[in-house]
Symmetry: C2
C-alpha cells in the first residue's frame, strides 16, 4: 500500500512542483489548501483545477477567520493596504505557515498519514522565518510530541532557489500555465506585485519559457 | 507599561484559574477563545461572561472548520458519537491544542504580546500528548523560529493536579460557579461525562465546596 502524504498546496508554482514530486516519489497525495481570506482567490481556483487534473481529492480549509487573529495587519488579506513591489513586513501574515502546518498535522492524524510535504523554498528563507529549515525541524518535533507519533514533515524544496524549483517542475511535467502567483485578485497576473516579479525572474533564471500572461510584461 | 499576555481561555475552571493567575502576576491579559464546533457552546458563553466580569476584551476565533480537518472523528464535535464516562481515544481532537497555540502565536504577534499563557494541567498529561511540558517547550521553540521573536509560552499549571488548580483558583477568587466543564450542551452540567466526573473529583480532593449544579449528583 502506498504511503499517505498530506501536501500543503496553494496552487502556486512551488507547491504544484511539490505535489508532482510527492506523487513521483510514490506517495498517495492528499493536497490541503487554505482559504485564509486572501484577495488572491484565483490561487484556490488554480489549486482545485490542478488537483482535479491529477484525479486527487483536495481538502479546502476555510481559514478566513485568520483575519480576526491578525487584526487585518497584512496587505494580503486587507484590501485597504497597499500591495508592494518588493518584500516588506506588510507581506508577512505572522505565523501563517505555522497555522497551516498545525491543520496539516490534524488532517494527517485523522486520515492516518505519516508524512506532510511542505513547499517552503530557499529563496524565501531570508524573508519568511516560517519558511526556514530550522523552523520546519522544530515544528516536526512539536508535532511528534503533540500527537505521540512519528510524523515526518518533509520540505524538499528548501535547498532550492525558486528558479531551481521551476526547473524541477519542468522536468516533472508541472502545468505551470495552470498555477497562480499574483497577490492581486484580477483576471490575469498583474506582473508588478512582489510575487509576480519573483515568478518572472524565476522562469527567466531557469531558462524555462514562462507561459504566464501578465498585465504588465 | 504592563507586559501583554495572550491567554488561551476556554471558560473552564483550569483556564479561568490561569486567567486570574496571569492578571495577578501583573500582565495585561488578552483572552482568546476557540469555537471549534464543540457541542459544549456553554463553555464559550461562560468564557464571555467571565472575561466581561474582569473588564477584558475577549477574542473569539471561530474554528468550526476544524471539523473538516478532523473528518468528524471525535465525539466532542460530532453529535452522532457517544460521549464516554472515562477517557477514551474518541475524546482526543488530534493536535487541537497545537492548532490553538498556532492561532495564539499569530494573535500575539499582531498585538505585540511577548507572552502566551496556556492552561494545560498535570492531570491531563498522561492522556493528552499536547498537554505535556515537553510539547509546550518544543512548540515554543517552533514559534520563536517561525516568528523570529523571543515569544515565551508559559504553562504554569502543568505541575499541578486538577485538584491543586482548584485550590489555587479558590485563593485567586475564581468564580467557579461561572465556569463550565461539561462535554454536553445542556442547561446544567450532566454530572456523568468524563469532564464532569473530573470536575467533581477535583473539588472533592481539593476540599473546596463545589458550586456546580449537576443533573446527576
Amino acid at each position: 500500500m502506498k504511503r499517505k502524504a498530506v501536501v500543503i498546496f496553494s496552487g502556486g508554482p512551488d507547491s504544484t512542483t511539490l505535489l508532482y514530486l510527492t506523487i513521483k516519489r510514490g506517495y498517495k497525495a492528499y493536497p490541503i489548501t487554505f482559504d485564509y481570506g486572501q484577495i488572491a482567490k484565483r490561487e484556490i481556483e488554480a489549486a482545485k483545477k490542478i488537483a482535479e487534473g491529477l484525479g486527487l481529492d483536495i481538502k479546502i480549509i476555510d481559514l478566513s477567520v485568520i483575519k480576526d487573529a491578525y487584526l487585518g495587519a497584512t496587505s494580503l488579506v486587507d484590501e485597504n493596504m497597499p500591495i508592494t513591489k518588493e518584500f516588506s513586513k506588510q507581506l508577512i501574515v505572522p505565523f501563517r505557515n505555522g497555522v497551516m502546518l498545525s491543520f496539516a498535522v490534524a488532517y494527517a492524524q485523522s486520515i492516518g498519514a505519516n508524512y506532510i510535504f511542505y513547499g517552503a523554498q530557499g529563496s524565501d528563507e531570508p524573508y519568511y522565518p516560517d519558511c526556514r529549515t530550522s523552523f520546519v525541524r522544530a515544528f516536526q518535533r512539536a508535532a511528534r510530541l503533540g500527537t505521540d507519533s512519528k510524523l515526518v514533515i518533509k520540505a524538499p524544496l528548501t535547498k532550492l532557489k525558486k528558479s531551481e524549483v521551476i526547473k524541477l517542475g519542468k522536468e516533472l511535467g508541472v502545468p505551470f500555465e495552470m498555477t497562480w502567483s499574483c497577490y492581486r485578485g484580477e483576471e490575469i497576473h498583474c506582473g508588478v506585485c512582489e510575487s509576480c516579479v519573483n515568478r518572472k525572474r524565476a522562469f527567466s533564471e531557469a531558462s524555462v519559457p514562462d507561459p504566464t500572461v501578465y498585465k504588465v510584461e
